[in-house]
Each structure stands twice: as structure tokens, then as C-alpha cells.
Assembly symmetry: C2
Homo-oligomer: 104 residues x 2
């Protein structure tokens, strides 16, 4: 579970097909071998001051920054990204080599 995390947060547009977009991202994650793990969730704190309006978190794990780049440019991701972007009001994304200091 080490590696580099590609973390995306989204605020979706009113009426966006959120469930379908999440399902399609899951399918993409299962289909592409360079994606080592995939998890996501919806904020339950719902405190705008802290969330900055972002409601969903998606975390994909890769072995390397090169694999993240390969994913970003992969035709399946490019196709998916079009649909995702059409549904979002704003996005946040960071890539970070993860330091795991406690694990259960």
C-alpha cells in the first residue's frame, strides 16, 4: 500500500450523475493494472469552513509518478475525465509519495 497517491476531491454540480461517475471511476480503477488501490468516500463532517465545499474524495495508488502520468494520459482516463469534468463544479488534486507511519 506504499507508493504514490493520486488524491482527487470534487464538488459536483447540482444534478450531476454522481453515483454513475463514482461507479465508472471504480470500473476504471479495476480495469487498469497500474492502479494498485482505489478508495473513495463522501464527507460526513459537512462543515463548509473545513471542506471548502468539496464533498467527495478519491484516492488512487500507483507504484510511481511515471505510472500516475501514464494513467492521466491513458485513453480510458481521458475519456472518463471528460465526463467527470462535465459533472463537477470544482476539483482539487495532489500527488504524494505516501509515508505510512502507523498501520493496522
Amino acid at each position: 500500500m506504499a507508493g504514490i497517491r493520486h488524491l482527487v476531491m470534487a464538488k459536483f454540480k447540482e444534478g450531476a450523475p454522481v453515483e454513475q461517475l463514482v461507479l465508472d471511476m471504480k470500473k476504471l480503477a479495476l480495469e487498469l493494472d497500474i492502479i494498485k488501490s482505489f478508495e473513495w468516500g463522501e464527507d460526513v463532517m459537512k462543515n463548509e469552513k473545513y471542506s471548502h465545499g468539496f464533498t467527495h474524495v478519491f484516492i488512487l495508488t500507483f507504484d510511481s509518478a511515471e505510472d500516475v502520468a501514464a494513467y492521466i494520459n491513458h485513453p480510458l482516463h481521458v475519456e472518463y475525465a471528460k465526463k467527470f469534468r462535465a459533472g463537477i463544479e470544482k476539483i482539487l488534486a495532489v500527488d504524494f509519495p505516501t509515508a505510512i507511519d502507523k498501520i493496522n
Copy 2:
């Protein structure tokens, strides 16, 4: 590794003792049994458009929302939070029950 994730992103002030703050958060995570896992990392994409200026990600995992609340109110966290807040320019935080759909 399921459970609820308490995800914090930070943009630190110029000159903030970032290494010490990270080290102290790690110590806190190792000290408190309700924290089931702790990981963190620094953004390497460095694209302001996507990062919104946030440079660091911290992810703590708990068994339940009640445990997150107990952590937030724990004296050791309250003490730590004062130092953390003094060092940051802005913060983002969300809590999400994690759906893990792919794991390696």
C-alpha cells in the same frame, strides 16, 4: 484499513516548523490507540490550479465517527492543534467512511 478517514490538508506559513509539526502529529498518532492508521505526504504535482495551494496531506483512520470526535476533543490533540494552527495559512478537512474497492 476500513473505517472512517479524517483527512486534513494544509498550506503552511512561510517559516513554519513543518518537519516538527509532522513529527509531532506522527507521535500523536502513535500514542493514541483510537487512531488506527496514520499516513501523510507532500504534494509533488505542485500545480497550484489543482492543489489550491495545499502542500501536505494527513490521513488518520478511526473505527467510527465517535472516535474521530473523541480524538478532536482529546487534550493531546487540543494541545497539538494550537501549534498546528499557528503554523498554517489554510486548512482543509473532511471525514469520510472509506469504500475500498481495490486493494493490493
